[in-house]
């Protein structure tokens, strides 16, 4: 097996960058589906971090954690899309700005 040619820390930087992009997207995008996609991006950034650290420690467990996270994320996506559809049916919009019936 060849030594990794790209240092681990670069993967980490990529992971943090993806995480930040996802976080920023949650803050600025208005479409609930896009916001939700940005959240998924954050989860995948965490996955990347797991893989990189697993590589760093030479520990296979990290890879399995990624599988688990993916499974969870898939379930979450299903529920999320279902809820977004429910919102769309009651309000004909999925713009998160317009969901402010309850406040204070």
């Amino acid at each position: 097996m060849a030594e990794p040619t790209v240092p681990i820390v670069w993967y980490l930087i990529l992971s943090v960058a993806l995480f930040s992009i996802g976080g920023l997207g949650v803050l600025v995008r208005r479409n609930a589906i896009v916001v939700f996609m940005c959240v998924e991006l954050m989860l995948n950034a965490a996955n990347l971090a797991f893989i990189s650290f697993a590589r760093l420690h030479g520990d296979m467990s990290g890879h399995i954690y990624v599988f688990l996270v993916m499974a969870v994320a898939a379930a979450e996506v299903s529920v999320g899309l279902a809820i977004i559809i429910a919102v769309f049916r009651t309000r004909s919009t999925i713009n998160v700005d317009e969901l402010t019936d309850m406040s204070g």
């Binding site: 976080g23 700005d97 402010t100 019936d101 406040s103």
Partner: protein
Amino acid sequence: MIKFSSLAYIPLLPLIGAFVLGLWGKKMERSSATIVALSTVLGSFAITVIATYTMVKNNGTPLQAVLWEWIYVGRYRVDLALGFDQLTAALMLVVTGVGFLIHVYSTGYMEEDPSYWRFFCYLNLFVAAMSMLVLGQSLPVLFIGWEGVGLASYLLIGFWYSDTEKADAGRKAFITNRIGDFGFLIGTFIVLGLFGTMDFTQLRQAVAAVGPTDAMLTTGIFAGFSVKAVVTAACIAFFIGVTGKSAQIPLYVWLPDAMAGPTPVSALIHAATMVTAGVYLMCRLGFLFTIAPDALVVVAVVGGLTAVFAATIGVAQNDIKKVLAYSTVSQLGYMVLAVGVGAYTAAFFHLITHAFFKACLFLGSGAIIHALHGEQDIRRMGGLRKHIPITHATFLVSTLALAGIVPLSGFFSKDLVLAFASERSASLGILGSVGAFLTAFYMSRLYFMTFFGELRHPDPHMKDHLHKPGLSMEIPLIILAALAVVGGALNLPHVFTHTDGFLDRFLGPVLGTKVLSMTATAEYFFMAKSVGIAVAGIVLGYVLYGRGVPTKAAESFVESGPVHGVLYNKWFVDELYQNTIIRFTRFLGSLAAMVIDPWIIDGILVKLSSGLVSGSGRLLRKPQTGNVQSYAAVFVLAVAIITGWAVW
């Protein structure tokens, strides 16, 4: 300690009564509701008497009933234990005894109220909570009662809830008492932190085991402070609780407003029992206060100032219940003063005699108000002496007792307090004497304006259809008046009998004994002075109000032109009085009533604190926009701040 498990029934019986009345009272016959309410309290009284007898039989060994093992905190254990020692016995007899009399009285007073059952439900609840407070063997158990009496009082002040003003009064009582509770809890936790126990017996042992109190603590959470400093802090915290419950400066404001409740409530809760809970607490924790002399100074000063301050306000009031309310604040000031100078027994003695005569006064005022169909303004009273003779007689006796006329009970107790106060410090003695003078004066003013002269009620036929008090109202009055007369025998002064007073001996094991150091001659002289002051106040009252109306002499003199040679000097004195003492005290009184009370106390203390709370609440609502992205933004911001702070 002797096990005496029946103790539990003292609070339990009234509690069952309250429960029964609360759930089924609405459907009950009025007579059966009466039976439930009265029999439970009478039962408590009977058990109290038996318990007292048992305890005395056993050479004063305290009785104890451990209901169950209740709390384990850390390594320490608090049982839900009720204790019955001499201090408890004395106060419990008052609570259940006077409580029963007031229940009897209420059957007459409240007979026309549609919510008769509800009134007795609350009243029974109060007796149960008060018994818990007095019987509690540890701070948490006492706190159950402490909160319980507060709740009952809150419910009873707002009993006629349709009236917003009365509901507001309930709220005011509530807020000021919360400030007090805060002090109580802080004190409890300081004690727990220092001694590791909240049980009175263990606490007493722990305090006794403390060596020199100036030494610095080296272990525990109070390391670096001396025991004295920590105990002082705890005592001050407890005292804040006391100022709330026992209506001392600056938290006294709720008590006069609490007169919005039915009069029997004022008699039972806001004169005889609940308001004395603070004094009881300080007596119970006397061993703690003793090693915190600095805290005692604060206690004494606040008590003395309250005694005088409230008395000046009492002079300027026209509502019969308000006068009595300020009088109560003032008398509570005496009790607190007595604790502050370390005379616990004297404080307790005054507590008991005060319970007799002030309950009698309140019930008397209730009879008067009842007779006049709800009229409370003394300017519209007068001449009632002839119409309600029994009420008049009992009111007179109690007034004299409160003023401190020998040989009525108030004389002995107040004189003892004053003597200890002036031994401690001359200025405290003077404060006490000024208060005593004012007390005699406003009480005689009240008495003369109510019972002398002619009835001044705007309804000219009122005289013919006065609501005469029935037997159920008169019998409690007579009993209480009799107690007000003989109550002094509980603790006759040493100089009379050449032995310690009964109460001194009885309470000695709990409160310790403190004797006057003055000589017999000095003591006689002091008594004479006290009586003289009281008589002076009454005489002044008689001169100015003896005809049942404020004398118009001064005004008529002024109206009839300049000096009239022969009368000049005489009226000069009168005018001097009128212009200086009376006007000044009136001025002080109205200043306090009009400015200090509503603006400073009400405004700053109550409104500001509640305003601060709700204002900041409104401000904090701002981020709660309903927009999920703004929530996420706050989230990210918080994470950034915390991570930054944690990492760098």
